[in-house]
């Protein structure tokens, strides 16, 4: 630029414009939903990399993500359910019962892949029952899925005789313990699912209807949306994803444990809440939930690496949720200002 042509006014204007632009960009960054939660994840990782030299190794990180992948996959369903203003407490028991059902089917000599399919169909059935009770009998989601949680847990014990099912073929272990190149299969499944469901939530009619129903159920009904069907779909999604989680877990362990997934529903809901999903409905993103699940995984891993007594793990996880919600409130305030 020719300095002799320097014009004071236009310079000032330019400055204002660029200032406005910076302000806009800053505002965008600050209001970016996942920013705070992402920063928290980064902070925790920085802290852990200083506290334990083992934390920041490729092996450990892959291990963390693989461990977290089951929670993360089930948390997709939880996020969708919570966005519609509901909740699903039955996913932990679904993990156990489907794991057992699939293992029994394999032991009965049915092809492994067909057995997996049977497991998924079982998930559809459970989700359908949840959804029907909630939308047709109008029983609240908490009560419905709490009852379902207990019924399915009982069913698991009945089917398995309360004993783990071992002696599964090598082929069975591929989904949970296998690798594609250097990457564990569960991580690949998780990544693909997150991309698909992100697109579903942000770009499709169904995604928008789901957000609308959670944002204002009555108004959605008055707009001609079939609210009951939308709810049915999210409960089926949640149950199917939990079934998939159950299959991957059994496959990784090489056995079906009747006690699998106890309290898992709470980790899953925590992941969604950490990621900024609002319990009052209408709000939530896939990216947020993924980061939320990663935080839960990283904290578990860190507590192990630091040799913290297992009893303290729950206490720390509870505190993390409270802090996450406080951070979220701070963010909302900043945007309002």
């Amino acid at each position: 630029m020719n300095k002799s042509n320097y014009d004071n006014t236009s310079g000032a204007q330019k400055y204002t414009i660029s200032l406005n632009k910076t302000k806009r960009i800053l505002h965008k960054i600050v209001s970016f939903r996942e920013l705070w939660i992402f920063l928290s994840l980064v902070l925790i990782c920085i802290f852990l990399s200083f506290s334990s030299e083992y934390f920041l190794t490729v092996n450990n990180l892959l291990n963390v993500i693989r461990q977290v992948s089951i929670i993360a996959i089930i948390a997709i369903g939880a996020t969708f359910v919570i966005i519609t203003g509901g909740i699903d407490l039955s996913v932990g028991s679904i993990v156990a019962v489907i794991g057992v059902v699939v293992a029994m089917s394999v032991q009965a000599g049915i092809n492994v892949w067909i057995s997996f399919l049977i497991g998924i169909l079982g998930g559809v059935l459970i989700g359908l029952i949840n959804g029907l009770i909630i939308t047709r009998l109008k029983i609240s989601p908490v009560i419905t899925t709490l009852a379902m949680m207990m019924i399915l847990r009982g069913l698991t014990y009945v089917l398995s005789g309360a004993r783990p099912l071992y002696n599964l073929p090598e082929q069975f272990k591929f989904l949970g313990a296998g690798y594609l190149g250097p990457l564990p299969i569960p991580i690949i499944i998780m990544t693909v699912l997150y991309i698909c469901f992100h697109i579903l939530l942000t770009r499709t009619r169904l995604g928008r209807y789901i957000r609308a129903v959670g944002g204002n159920e009555l108004a959605s009904e008055h707009t001609g949306i079939n609210v009951k069907n939308v709810k049915m779909i999210v409960y089926i999604m949640a149950a199917v994803l939990a079934s998939l989680g159950g299959i991957i877990l059994a496959s990784r362990l090489g056995s079906a444990q009747p006690t699998a997934g106890v309290y898992l529903e709470f980790s899953v809901i925590s992941a969604a809440l950490l990621g900024g999903t609002s319990l009052s409905g209408g709000e939530g993103t896939m990216l947020g939930t993924l980061i939320g699940a990663l935080i839960i995984g990283v904290i578990s891993n860190g507590l192990n690496l630091l040799n913290v007594d297992a009893f303290y793990h729950q206490i720390v996880k509870g505190l993390v949720i409270l802090i996450a919600v406080l951070i979220d409130r701070f963010r909302v305030k900043r945007i309002e200002d």
């Binding site: 770009r203 499709t204 009619r205 169904l206 928008r208 209807y209 957000r211 609308a212 944002g215 204002n216 009555l218 108004a219 959605s220 009904e221 008055h222 707009t223 001609g224 949306i225 079939n226 209408g282 709000e283 200002d337």
Partner: protein, 501 residues
């Protein structure tokens, strides 16, 4: 200087980007009912919030009994004897009237923490007797009607020995009879020594109870006048800065194309033997008092109530309407009375709200065509003059009038043939009301739409409707062309059901 009960001098309040109150002077006499009117955003609620200690003024002074006071929070305001009855009420729904009245100031027995029920019951009874009103004080407040809840609020402020009572839109959801009772009550309160600030949208009411009136516009005080020295027209002109009051929008229409015909419609306990016709290109008004069944009829036409018997024809073809989805497919759009509860998804963007009912037209294999969506929404934004900087903004940040326009846009996109407006201007100020009437009028002129307006405001019906049906107790009792009838006659007819001729 005259002694005033309350004197506000040079009150200024700025919010980011707006001056909500600009150097306002306001005063309240002893034993006075002082009406405060203005459009939404004129500044009247900001002033009330400052008096209640919800907001703090940036500049200016407040005097109570010639003594300068600072109101920092709500409990301080109450200590100064200032109380406010909000439109939504501040009552705990599952407590009864007595418990609500004494909430926070319970009488205690000798043993601390134990409430003296007999004493509070006696005091409640005395206060209600003084007010001359009997209500059931033993049942949870949620079972009381709106006017009775209001009485409980008033009793609450009497018990708290308020000197200044601020009433925000107290008549908004009352029937004419209940309004009458409220006004008598307000005059009683005044005579017993209380001063009342009466905030309202219904301008004609201020002439029945107020001593003085103050008009706000755009954060400024326009005038304060003794009520005898002014009239309706002047007040509305001052409020809007325009001359609107005598403008009528209806026009005579000679169309005989039936868009909608309803024959012997019957809905259990709600509607009885409804027969009506809607002609192409007209605005049909349906009116009646609260409980006349008009809202129920609106809901039934949109598939929200189950029809027991009767036939509905659209463009001569018999149709079944069992759900909103059916109604939308038959070309009916519905603009509910309660926009925020039933019409909008507040957290979603303006554009998402507008296209929500017609997404199927924008979708290929389930995926939304964002480019087409944006084009359609921008087109409607220009057509209806929706005032928003960004169609990606959450719709909760738009004004009431613009939200209403967004709901109208939603139905324009579904190719509706019939729009049902249920109380289209409730809670909207005078200026925005006129804008909504203009929009309806333009819709009729520029599109193939026909409109049914359900409204309990006779002025509104007489202003916009081409034909009028009167309802009472779930039945249509008369049909009239909008010629030569007056508000008084309509009122007489719907309240007595007697013959109008």
């Amino acid at each position: 200087m005259d002694r005033k009960l309350l004197l506000c001098k040079g009150i200024t309040k700025k919010f980011p980007g707006v001056v909500a109150l600009d150097n306002i002077d306001f005063d309240l006499d002893y034993k006075e009912i002082h009406a405060v009117v203005g459009e939404n955003g004129a500044g009247k609620s900001t002033l009330m919030k400052i008096l209640m200690g919800v907001n703090k003024n940036d500049n200016g002074e407040i005097f109570l009994n010639n003594k300068k006071i600072e109101i920092m929070n709500t409990s301080q305001a109450i200590n100064y004897g200032i109380n406010m009855i909000f439109q939504e009420f501040n009552l705990i729904p599952n407590l009864n009237a007595i418990e609500n009245i004494f909430l926070g100031i319970e009488f205690c027995r000798k043993i601390p923490w134990f409430i003296d029920f007999r004493k509070s019951k006696g005091k409640t009874k005395r206060v209600l007797d003084e007010l001359g009103i009997a209500i059931n004080t033993g049942i949870p407040i949620k079972y009381l009607s709106t006017p009775n809840k209001q009485i409980v609020e008033i009793a609450k402020s009497v018990v708290r020995k308020s000197r200044i009572l601020i009433m925000d839109e107290p008549t908004a959801s009352l029937t004419p009879k209940e309004v009458e009772r409220l006004f008598n009550l307000m005059i009683n309160l005044k005579e017993s020594g209380m001063s009342i600030i009466f905030v309202t949208h219904r301008i004609e009411e201020i002439f029945r109870v107020s001593d003085r009136v103050t008009v706000f516009r755009d954060g400024k005080k326009i005038i304060t006048k003794r009520i005898q020295e002014t009239n309706l027209e002047e007040i509305i002109n001052k409020m809007t800065g325009r001359d609107l009051i005598n403008k009528k929008y209806f026009f005579n229409l000679e169309s005989k194309n039936e868009v909608l015909k309803v024959e012997d419609l019957y809905v259990d306990n709600l509607l009885n033997k409804i027969n009506l016709k809607l002609f192409k290109g007209e605005i049909l008004g349906i009116t009646g008092l609260l409980g006349s069944g008009k809202s129920e009829l609106a809901r039934t036409l949109f598939g929200l109530e189950k029809v027991n018997s009767g036939r509905i024809f659209i463009l001569g073809k018999e149709v079944k309407i069992n759900s909103p989805d059916d109604a939308i497919k038959q070309g009916i759009g519905y603009l509910p009375e309660d926009r925020k509860e039933l019409g909008l998804i507040l957290k979603m963007m303006v554009k998402e709200n507008i296209t929500l009912a017609s997404l199927s037209n924008l979708v290929k294999l389930g995926f939304i065509n964002f480019k087409k969506e944006k084009e359609l929404v921008l087109e409607l934004k220009n057509k209806l003059d929706i005032d928003t900087s960004d169609i990606n903004k959450q719709i909760q940040f738009l004004s009431g009038g613009n939200q209403q326009k967004a709901v109208i846009s939603k139905w324009l996109l579904t190719n509706s043939k019939i729009l049902i407006f249920d109380e289209p201007t409730r809670g909207i100020d005078v200026g925005a009301k006129e804008k909504i009437y203009q929009i309806m009028n333009e819709l009729i002129k520029n599109t193939d739409l026909s409109i049914i307006v359900f409204s309990s405001e006779f002025d509104e019906i007489l202003k916009i409707a081409n034909r009028i049906y009167l309802m009472r107790k779930g039945e249509i009792i008369a049909e009239h062309r909008n010629e030569g009838i007056t508000k008084e006659k309509l009122m007489q007819y719907v309240s007595t059901g007697g013959k109008y001729e």
